[in-house]
């Protein structure tokens, strides 16, 4: 039984290490995106050139767009194929492209730009506007949703379980999880986890991208026994929260989109 589990786990790992075109058993599209192994999307995001050039804006409600900034950041990391030598798209095409970044189901080609930093520094106003409208659309439809989403202080065993599961997501599945950070009341934040290391005694060090400081990678250390995180999100004071992984289905959407695109 144990042997069978090991074999199954190994097979799963092998599948994750294949690039999407290879997994589909077809001749690979020659683009850089298609030659990116699934695990390399983590390291790709660790490079500042592949991150958004602007930080979490206030948005139309004046309450920040951290969730949507992080989601657009992740969508762009998996689903944009940059072709710097090709002619740049028109404004109308760029709008369509940016609108597409609110979805997780299709690869899009960005002509005339070498990376996300390059593209988003030119179109930061359009992207920020899109994030704002995306927030309005989702916030109204999900009003009250945050009240029941979870606590900002849990038992130490529950947080340990959450961290162990997150480690498997990051180190075994090689995913970039999106985490909603639940604070007191309805206050929340979000971050993307790009790497994790296991520390002695069951703790972990998380490498994260915080939309408030997208130009640098942050780290946070989890120590067993904690019942919540305490982290300096803005500038002066620390915020206490519990992280919850969300939007997991986007990752399988990325895989399907890459398979289709990289035929």
């Amino acid at each position: 039984m144990f042997k069978a589990s090991v074999i199954f786990a190994s097979a799963a790992l092998c599948l994750f290490s294949l690039n999407p075109a290879q997994a589909a058993g077809k001749k690979a599209n020659s683009s850089k995106l298609c030659s990116t192994q699934w695990s390399q999307f983590q390291t790709k995001l660790q490079d500042g050139d592949n991150r958004l050039a602007f930080q979490n804006p206030a948005g139309p409600l004046g309450i920040g767009l951290c969730w949507w900034h992080s989601r657009m950041q992740r969508n762009a990391n998996y689903l944009l194929d940059f072709k710097p030598s090709e002619k740049r798209a028109s404004d109308a095409e760029v709008w369509t492209l940016i609108k597409g970044l609110t979805k997780s189901n299709a690869v899009q080609v960005v002509k005339g730009y070498k990376n996300l930093q390059d593209f988003s520094s030119v179109y930061s106003d359009k992207m920020a506007e899109t994030l704002g409208q995306w927030q309005l659309a989702e916030s109204f439809l999900q009003m009250g949703f945050l009240h029941g989403i979870g606590s900002n202080d849990v038992s130490s065993s529950s947080l340990q379980k959450t961290m162990d599961a997150l480690y498997a997501e990051v180190k075994v599945k090689k995913n970039v999880p999106f985490q909603m950070l639940k604070m007191g009341g309805v206050a929340t934040h979000a971050w993307l986890v790009t790497d994790m290391t296991k520390n002695r005694g069951g703790g972990y060090t998380l490498q994260i991208i915080d939309s408030n400081v997208p130009w640098s990678l942050q780290t946070y250390e989890y120590v067993p026994g904690m019942t919540q995180f305490s982290y300096n999100l803005m500038s002066s004071s620390n915020y206490n929260f519990v992280p919850y992984t969300q939007h997991e289905s986007d990752l399988s959407s990325y895989q399907s989109a890459l398979k289709r695109y990289c035929k």
Partner: protein
């Protein structure tokens, strides 16, 4: 010989089924579409319509196309209710989250222009106000219009502060709560 004959009959039977399926499928779609069609697709359809009632609502101004389209939805859904004799007038179909997001982003294009162009900001304010005050409009669209209306009035208080305070009177409780959200995300 028997086998060959059997295979031929099976193949013939299969071909008949294959030929019938597409039409059966489309017939099924047609019977579902009028009720299940989301608001946004209704808008798109009506833009190409020859119906003068609808046409009068559709604005020529391309920049505010998305809002005009929203107006059109209401007209079309009301007309559907008016001609129906057997069933009561139905509320507009609830659009999916993705449809609402797409609609809002299209609205965002006009908002960005309105923020940078004074002349366009006046037109935009009027369009947004119409959208908010339209009781037949789908609630989520009204809320998005309200949020953008508030945004315009804050951006240009000299132009719109007064108009906005009177427009606010038409906001229902849910929209007020939505706009009152503060300090929830960082």
């Amino acid at each position: 010989m028997k086998l060959k004959y059997g295979a031929f009959i099976l193949a013939l039977f299969g071909a008949v089924i294959l030929l019938q399926k597409p039409s059966a499928r489309s017939a099924k779609k047609e019977s579902v579409a009028p009720e299940a069609a989301p608001a946004v697709s209704l808008l798109q359809k009506s833009q190409g319509s020859q119906n003068t009632g609808i046409k009068s609502v559709v604005e020529a101004d391309e920049k505010v196309k998305s809002l005009s389209a929203a107006d059109t939805t209401v007209v079309e859904s009301r007309q559907a209710g008016a001609v129906s004799t057997s069933a009561p007038a139905q509320k507009p179909a609830t659009p999916s989250q993705e449809q609402v997001t797409d609609w809002a982003i299209d609205l965002g294009k006009s908002m960005l222009e309105a923020i940078h162009n004074p002349e366009h900001s006046f037109k935009m304010f009027d369009k947004l106000q119409k959208c908010v005050e339209d009781a037949g409009q789908v609630e989520v669209y009204r809320a998005i219009c309200a949020a953008n209306l508030k945004r315009l009035s804050e951006k240009f208080p000299d132009r719109f502060a007064q108009k906005y305070s009177s427009a606010q009177l038409s906001f229902d409780e849910k929209i007020r709560t939505f706009l009152a959200q503060a300090n929830t995300n960082f």
